[in-house]
């Protein structure tokens, strides 16, 4: 039988991937937060023994396929972001929600910069100031997402925390 935390992680990441793929009107597309990265950051912070860089790599590849980017483009960005979270999770956990949201915003910008950098090397990179809007939206919704995922974790993953 698969341990419960794995199920919660895989299900929440699948839902996040669906939210990333959901068709939206053009104006909303520019603001769509990167759900997969947000959910991965949460699990890497809350259950670092389980959700690590390998999981980030796998979901990065799935993002690459779903967004038709180069295979490895989102993967490398997510691996680096989750590496940072794993190095700093003890510190992030004691942040207030607002501080956490700002930190998550920085992580999202780092991720987008890596993806943008690869796009810039290989083909035409988008050239607009709207590019970092999703990172801002991601930071704004972080507190709510955090509370939601924390409740899911407390309910379904009986661990030694809290």
């Amino acid at each position: 039988m698969i341990p419960r935390p794995y199920i919660s992680i895989i299900v929440s990441l699948s839902v996040a991937l669906m939210l990333n793929m959901l068709p939206l009107p053009d104006w909303a597309n520019y603001a769509r937060p990167d759900w997969v990265t947000l959910v991965l950051i949460y699990w890497a912070m809350a259950l670092p023994q389980i959700a690590g860089v390998l999981l980030a790599f796998i979901f990065g590849l799935l993002l690459d396929v779903s967004q038709t980017t180069l295979l490895g483009q989102h993967a490398v960005a997510l691996v680096i972001v989750i590496f940072l979270v794993q190095r700093l999770y003890l510190r992030i956990r004691v942040y207030t929600l607002i501080q956490q949201a700002m930190f998550v915003g920085i992580l999202l910008v780092i991720k987008q910069l890596i993806v943008l950098w690869v796009s810039g090397i290989t083909d035409n990179a988008p050239d607009t100031e709207m590019y970092f809007l999703p990172a801002l939206v991601g930071a704004v919704i972080w507190p709510w997402l955090f509370i939601l995922l924390r409740d899911i974790r407390r309910r379904f993953c009986q661990t030694h925390h809290h």
């Binding site: 520019y30 860089v53 396929v65 483009q73 490398v76």
Partner: protein
């Protein structure tokens, strides 16, 4: 002390794992970019997310189904009548077309030029639109089992839409001509002037580049595919010149093209095999 050691070890191995995965990602990107050898891996991974893609499509299809179900009887009668009239009109035009085609073939024979291959088309439905707002990609519901191949031209009733860039299972990804990485070789119908039309990332505007200031062009000129390069069949409409600017100091004119195909409105598209044998001529509509 033991705990310290354990902590240190996991940190070291985290670093090693990260480095390995980063190198692996870079290797994948290079392989994907340089040699396009990863189609099998891409197809495998897209099978994994197929159920998710399918699920998010359900609400849209459900709404469409409701919409179709509640259409009133009178509306249907009206639509049917309209379609019948339209069909009659097209039949008349097609008759003329047949005669013209025969005449064209006869004349070509007289001239000694080889006969043009006829084309085969298949209707595909747009499955989803890429969520990246900086790209112009769509997914259609046909794969290699239907004969889709990388580089295949995709058109709609009004003109060229794009080409297939990945064939997955049950779906193929199409890059639209409005994507900023796309270019179509064209000619201007009125003068025969050749050029290349580039996407801008904006689905209502394309750009005709590298045309000198003194070229014989004007607003309203119809631009069609030239067939050079072999990817797109010749003589399909690409768009109409909507704006010409000749900035002093620049070598080339800046020319905007309004695309002929309804790039962000179509729901059905046509896949085109333009080197198909002549006996396959005609529209084939296969539903999955």
């Amino acid at each position: 002390m033991v705990e310290m050691n354990a902590l240190f070890q996991t940190r070291a191995s985290l670093f090693v794992r990260t480095i390995v995965l980063v190198i692996l990602s870079i290797a994948l990107m290079v392989a994907d970019h340089r040699w396009n050898h990863l189609e099998t891996l891409r197809t495998g991974l897209s099978n994994l997310i197929y159920p998710l893609r399918y699920t998010i499509n359900i609400p849209g299809e459900f709404i469409q189904w409701i919409d179709e179900s509640v259409t009133s009887h009178n509306d249907l009668i009206d639509e049917n009548l309209e379609l019948k009239q339209e069909r009659l009109l097209y039949q008349v035009r097609l008759q003329k077309m047949d005669t013209l085609e025969l005449e064209n073939q006869r004349l070509r024979k007289l001239l000694g030029t080889p006969k043009k291959a006829s084309e085969r088309v298949l209707i595909a439905e747009i499955f989803s639109v890429d969520q990246d707002p900086y790209k112009r990609l769509i997914t259609i519901n046909k794969d290699s089992a239907d004969g889709a191949y990388v580089g295949q031209a995709i058109i709609d009733a009004n003109g060229i839409m794009g080409q297939i860039i990945h064939v997955e299972s049950n779906a193929s990804t199409v890059m639209l001509i409005s994507d900023s990485n796309h270019a179509v070789p064209i000619q201007i119908n009125r003068t025969g002037l050749r050029g290349t039309v580039f996407g801008t990332g904006d689905s209502s505007k394309l750009e005709l580049r590298f045309i000198p200031h003194n070229a014989e062009i004007k607003v309203g000129d119809v631009v069609s595919s030239s067939g050079l390069g072999g990817r797109f069949p010749p003589n399909y409409p690409v768009g109409v010149i909507s704006k010409i600017e000749r900035p002093a100091g620049e070598t080339f004119a800046s020319i905007d093209i309004e695309p002929a195909a309804k790039l962000d409105q179509s729901r059905e598209v046509l896949m085109l095999w333009h080197n198909a044998p002549p006996d396959n001529y005609g529209v084939e509509s296969k539903t999955k």
